[in-house]
Every structure is written in structure tokens, then in C-alpha cells.
């Protein structure tokens, strides 16, 4: 039997939440930026290493600089969060610690994966420069453009949800 799990992507606008989902679900990428309003919902079924099938219902939320600005109805019944920021724009991770604290306080039992996206745009030295701010908090360094670590992110989270 297939289990359904709701995954919600959060983060500032323009960090690449929709692009990560498009890369994961359709394996495509577009340089064009289209602002998400409200929510888009996609679905992808994957097999876990222990041969279980899991159906991921992925909610792509409109970007906000504060997770508390999201409509509460969107977050209802969430099984896992992915908090995305843009590694090339400090404004998108400057409040990262606070944002994660809010999520941990409001949803203490729901796993959160923290993603530094757009790593194709930044050099390793630049990432190192910001390490003090986000290194201990980041779980995955992804690039929706190159596809780097995108599948790994979703499959790791899915495994934790079973």
C-alpha cells in the first residue's frame, strides 16, 4: 500500500523552492523566475530502500521572509518541512536561525531539512565566508539548475517520514 506524506517547502521568495520541486518531479529547470502566489501542489511517488512506496505530496508555498506569514491552512497535516534559502543572497539566510526556532517550537515533532540552494552561483570560498551563519544548520547544499543533491534531499526526508 502506498503511503502519502505531505512535504511543505518554506523560505524567502526567489530562493528556488519551485525550481527544486520541478527538478525533483519533472527533472527540468528553467532560468525564468515566476513568482509563486498561494500554493502549488505536486505529487511524486518514490520507492524507499526498504522497498516501500511512498507518495510525496509536495506543497510549494509562496515565499515569505517569515514563516509565520504563511497561511495556517497550508501547514495543516504537514509531515515534513524543507526550509530553502539562496546561498548567493545573504538576506535569505540572515534570519535562518530564528525561522528554524519558530518551526521547532510550533511543530516540535516534524522533521525539517535545511537547504542552501543555488550553489551553482556561489564559489566555495563565498560559501565558506558565510559558514558562521549557516553551516551548523544546513543539511543539503543543492542546485536546482544542475540537479545537485536534489533527489537526495527528497529521498532522505522521505525515509525519515516512514
Amino acid at each position: 500500500m502506498t503511503t502519502s506524506k505531505k512535504i511543505v517547502l518554506l523560505g524567502h521568495f526567489g530562493v528556488g523552492k519551485s525550481s527544486l520541486i520541478r527538478r525533483f518531479v519533472e527533472n527540468t529547470f528553467s532560468e525564468d523566475y515566476k513568482v509563486t502566489i498561494g500554493v502549488h501542489i505536486s505529487k511524486k511517488t518514490i520507492d524507499t530502500p526498504d522497498k516501500k512506496t511512498i507518495s510525496l505530496i509536495i506543497w510549494d508555498l509562496e515565499g515569505h521572509d517569515d514563516v509565520e506569514k504563511n497561511r495556517a491552512s497550508y501547514l495543516m497535516g504537514t509531515h515534513g518541512f524543507i526550509y530553502v534559502f539562496d546561498a548567493s543572497r545573504p538576506v535569505t539566510f540572515e534570519n535562518l536561525e530564528d525561522q528554524l526556532l519558530i518551526l521547532k517550537t510550533k511543530y516540535p515533532n516534524i522533521p525539517v531539512k535545511v537547504v542552501a540552494n543555488k550553489t551553482d552561483l556561489v564559489k566555495k570560498t563565498e560559501i565558506n565566508q558565510y559558514n558562521d551563519i549557516f553551516k551548523p544548520l544546513v543539511d543539503f547544499y543543492t542546485s536546482a539548475k544542475t540537479g545537485s543533491k536534489v533527489d537526495l534531499l527528497f529521498s532522505k526526508l522521505a525515509n525519515e517520514l516512514i
Partner: protein, 505 residues
Amino acid sequence: MLETYIKKYHKNNFQYILVDAAGKVIETDNHIIPIGNLTQIQEVHPFFEAFSDLFFIKNESYDFLCINLDFDKTSIIADITLQTHNDNKNLIIIEDLTKHYNNYQLAAQNRNESLINAQILKLKNLHLKEKEQFKNIFIANFSHQLRNPITALNIFSNLLKDTTLDDTQESYVNVINTANKNLKQSVEGILDISKIEAGKLILVEKVFSLKALLNEIINEHKLHITKKNIEFNFILDPKLPEFLNGDSFRLKQIIGNLLSNATYFTLKGFINLNISLNHIRANKANLHIKVSDTGIGIDPKDYEQIFKRFTKIESTIKNDMSTGLGLSITQYLISQMDGNIKVQSEIGIGSVFTCNISFKLATSYDKNLKEVLLHKVRKRLDKKHNILLVEDSELIQLSILKIIAADGNFFLNIISNGDDFISTIMDQDVDLILLSSTIQNYTAEELTKSLRKLSKEYKKIPVISISSKAFKEDIKSLKKAGINDVITKPFDEETLLNTIHQYLK
């Protein structure tokens, strides 16, 4: 009547769907999304999977706003309400608001794009500034490292020139001298640019004799110009004021640069230097400087280009060993003096550079300074004075030793270790101290402060710092620590002896 209009214009953008507790569709009006009866609502769109758990909660209402529903052939943006009931019949109401939300999307798109672009621009600027800063620090450090060898080269080639040499040897020394002079100019040019970029090139105000300065410039350049078989004419307006108050070093640099360029690019013909007084207003003299040549000339389309740093126009690149900084620095200096510079030129005919610069007139208040300037010639001192040199660079030690020995007015004692500084001073008679700005483990500031803390007699000993740091704040910091004067490397014999003589009369 109204009924008719309502029938005509009313748009039904609602769809009502009745589902059971498992999500099976019992009834639907299919106004927006075509759904067959008995279909599982969760299969219509993954959004409805969120309802699976809610169907079991009785008599509740849930609103989901701005839901993007994408289907194979169509997409809508809707507000969706779920109303659960006691009888296991759940009502889903879909209100299609695509048009409304699309307008909102457009506004959000514009706002977000401009915010992101502004952030990216700000970051790019920041990165550029950081790069620029790194470059300036690198240049400052690099030129700093060159100062000791240039100073030594300069002093020893001059000393060598004064020994008995045959013609071939003398010509070799001349080559070394010229090469070193060019090297010194290049290093100073690069350092000036880094100062300009860091906003640290500050003009000084000091009374100077304009006539003496112009004679100095003319004498220096006459030799180079006439050596190339080029005619050199200069006309100095008799109305030029004798004394001005301003940065004479930089004025010399401006005129010198224009003359050097003219010499460089003129192969035959003449170079004219014309300096006249435009006017005197509000106690300020406005000078008109004109340098004309019969050189290779500049294409008018390159006029702007030649004032940019590191720029060399195509026609001048061949055989040009300069850094291309001179005119950029000249233009900056003139602008700092509230002046202007213009060029008029014709390829193959020649160029005319004109600039107007204002200087304060020296006032009677500055009279004593005038006297100092008028009596610049060094006098023979009544007795031999003791100079203590604290310097750890052997090159500089040897250079200073040679200069001091040749002057014949002084005894020189050298220490290369800061630890011995105070004990040496207490043990020996010292009339003046030459102190390197950086010797191992100590700064010149620290050593001077500890000297000034000793008894009264030590407070009066003149301390001259030989500094390889040339920024204004470096000099300010040295003077604040009690250092009387600062000589920056690379220095020459004249500067060193003039400064020493100024403090030992």
C-alpha cells in the same frame, strides 16, 4: 428586469462537490472541473489528499485560499472551502478566482523581481569594493617592500657617480640612475593611485617660493629635453606671485608630468612651457599652465581615454614602458586643487595641455616661513653633532652612513635593535635620533614614547622617523607619539641632510 440582466451577465464561477467520508464523489455540478461520479476526490488533484483526514471531523469548515490547481489541459487558481457534516456527506466548494489572482501574481512578480535585483546589485557592489580594497592593500604593501632597495640604489649610484670613473663607467652609472629614477616614479605613481582610490591622498598647505620651484622644474627637465635635440622654451609671467601657500610637491608633479609626457612623445621640434597669472581674487592666485609640443599627437576621440588610469592609447603603446598613471594622477591632483585641465591635439602635429589652478597667496603671517625658505642653503655647523640611527635594514644603515660621512658635520652611531635604544641614549651623548618606523619587535611610536618619558633633557632630542609608510594617518600617528619629523622612503641625500640640518643649528 433585473432578473433578465442577472441571467445575461451572471457568471457562475463556483463548483459544488459532495463527497463521502472516504472521499468518493457523490454528486458534482462540474461547473469548473469535470469529475465523474464515484471518482475518489483525492485522484482529481493531489491538493485534495489534504482532505482525507479532515473528512472524519464533523461539522467543521476549512478555507484554503489561493490554491493553484494544474490539470493536463487547464490551470485554475481557486479558493476552496471544505464543509464537513454529521451525515458523512462533505461539501467542497471551489471558487474560481484565476483572473483575480493572476493580477495579483503580476504585481508580486514585479515587486519581487525588483527587490531581488536590488539585492544582487548591492552584493555585486560590495564584492567590487572588497576586491578594490584588497588590490589597494596589496599595492601599498608591495610598494612598501620596494622602498628600501630603491633608496639604497638611489644613494649608492649617486655616491658612485662622485668617485673617479672613466667614461664607460660613468655612462653605466647614468643608466642605473635613470632606471632607478623611472622605477621610483612608477612605484610612487602606483602608490598615489592607491591613495587616491582609498581617499587618502591629501594635499598639504605650506608656503613655497613659486619662482624657486619653477626654476627647479625647468632645470630638471631642460637636460632631458635638450638631450633629445628638442628645443625647450619657457616663458614665466613676470606678474607671477613670488610666494604661494599650497602643495608645492604636487604642483611640481603636475608640471613635471606634463613635461615628461611631452618629452616622451616628441621626437623633433620643440616643447614650450608657459606659466602665467590669470588673476588674483579673494587672496587666491589663479595660475595658467600651458605645455605644448610637436610630438606624435592624440586623436580627439582619445581625449577622455588618456586621463583614465592604466590607459595607453593604441598609437603610444609601442616602446612605451610607463605605467600609464601620470595623466590620471595629474587630473586628480588638479581637480583636488579646484582646477581644470584640457587637451588640444592633432595627430602628427603636436599637443597642447592647458590647466588652471588656484593657490592661496602667502600672507605676512607666513613671513617667518618665507625666511626659512629663502635660506634653504645648509650652513656648516659650529661643531660635530652625534646622530643615533636606529634601523635594522643594512641597506638603509649603509646608505645613511655614506651620506652622513660625506657631509662631514656628524658622528654616526648605529643600533639595529630596539632593545638597546634607551640604554644607548642614556650612555652616550645624542643630539638627534634617526628612527626607522619599523624595527623588530618595536614601533617608532613605542620607542619615542619611552624616550619622552625619561627626564627633561631627553624630551628635547629631535627624533626624525625614516618611514616606509607614507599614508597621512601613518605620519599623523608618528608625530602624535612625539616624533619631530618624518622622512618617507625612498628618500634622497638632499632630503635627509636638509631635514637633519633643520634640527641641528
